[in-house]
Each structure stands twice: as structure tokens, then as C-alpha cells.
Point group: C2
Amino acid sequence: MKKSSKFLTLVAVPLLFVFFITSCNKKAETKETVAESTFNLTIAKAEIEAANKEFMAFFAAGDSVELANLYTQDAKFMNTGAPAITGRRNIQSALSGIMKSGISRAVLITVEVWGTEDLITEEGEISLFVEEAEVFQGKYIVLWKKDDGKWKLFRDIFNSNLPAE
Amino acid sequence: MKKSSKFLTLVAVPLLFVFFITSCNKKAETKETVAESTFNLTIAKAEIEAANKEFMAFFAAGDSVELANLYTQDAKFMNTGAPAITGRRNIQSALSGIMKSGISRAVLITVEVWGTEDLITEEGEISLFVEEAEVFQGKYIVLWKKDDGKWKLFRDIFNSNLPAE
């Protein structure tokens, strides 16, 4: 064997093996890192809290149209003491009715969120006020859906912490 | 150059490149296929419906211990007209109280599910019966968590379709 062929057999070929095995593993690692880092639940929680701030602001302003725009077109407002209301237009009427009944302010507190980049389930606490008097204290689960880059309420259910009077 | 070294340079080394590049790509493809095929929402829905059948059976049997075992240890039972109840033990007491109040049967109907292999959000309809009389008609959202390979209720909220009397 010549020196050049010895070099190929003993050094270059084994080195190529090592190089390809290493690059194979790197490729696999990169894939996993990308899959994990595209979604961050802490950031999503902050986004949901920001959406709730908008909700509270539109509610306090008595703006049922902008409030309903925070829901997806096909949302369900699973109101307590009434059948579920489907669709943004019907939800707007229901929210308008709630405001007209005297409820002037809603306070929403996010307890925890779970989910993915497209769909978040939020657990929270809700209080409703007539002027300064708290008239409803309860808890809720909201399913948020990413709609054109923005989190929108897709399913909204809540109930009271107090027995019906 | 000898024949053996020519073989290495012109055939064996290029072939090794092709072999490794192919195996690299196969590895990547396999990873993607596995990631996509491990979760199927239709199958998950059937699993949730099966879990609800167990729920209904334990409820009808008046077995609050087995019923509570369908919840995760850290579950929240977000009962209507009462603050949320946290933890399997407390949930068992609450369910036992509901049964003792005369509710003998629960009917749960899954409307839709969303989620991933670890966490499913279910929308459903619920009816409660005292013997043959329907005494409660409502809707619910349940957040199910995969716990040791089995779907368990993690968050459970419901409310009535009818105004409080």
C-alpha cells in the first residue's frame, strides 16, 4: 500500500465517519431545540393578561361592540343561568344586556394558563360590580384561540362562588 | 496509485457520503413522522368519552371514592354556587355530599375537544337527575390531564342553563 492509500484507510475514512455522525446528531439536536423554543407559556400568560386588560377597559367603557370583538366569530359565551350563546353578534347582544342591567365593571384575575401557541386554557377569578358594590364573585375557564395573530376568547364559562339567593 | 486506493478515492468515499447523507435525512424524516402521528384528536375524544362513561357509572353506583379517583390529586372542582374545591380528598367529600343530597345520576355529553397528548380541553353538556327527574341542566368545560397514562379531570367547571329559582 502507498502512503496515500494508508492515509485514506486509517485516518480520512474514520474521520469522515466521525464528522458525519457528529453532524447527524447536531441536526437532530437543532430540530428539538426549535420545537421547544417556539412557544413560551410565560409570554403567553402575559399576552392573555394583556387581553384581559382590554376586556376590562372595554367593559368599563360600556363598549359592547369592542368587547365582542375580543371573541372569535364562532365563540361560545357559556353564561351562567342561561343556555350558551354562540357567535360574536349574539355575544355582543348578551354583553350589552349585562351592561344595561347595571353591571358597570368586571375584574378578571388570571390564576393559571396551559396550552400551546394556538390554544390556551386559562383559569381565573371574576368579580362584577354595580358602581362600587361587588354583586358577583366567581371563577372561570376561558379557552383562547390565536386568531390572525391575536388571542381571542373562544369558549368562556364562569359560575358563582356563592349559592343562589 | 494502486487499484485499492483508487477504489477508495473514487468509489468508497463518495459512497460513504451518499450513505451518511441519506441516513441523516431518514433520521430527520422519522423524527417528524413520529411527532405528528403520536397524537390523534379523534382517538383522544373517544378516550375522553370512555372516561366520562366511567364517571357516569361510578356516579350511578354512588361510589364517591372511585369517582374522585378520576380526578388528578391536585384537581380543582369548580362547583357552581360555591368556591372551588382543591385536591382529590376534598373533591371526594364534595361529590359524596352531592350524592347524599339526592342526586343519583349524571349524564355527560362531549360536544368538542381540543388539545394535545398531555392536556385536553372538553366542552360538554351535563344533566343531573334525582331518580328519573332532571333537576339540573347545564354546560361544562373540563381540562383533562394525562396522568400515568390515563386521562384525569384536572379542572372541572359547569353552570346551569336555567336562571336560579
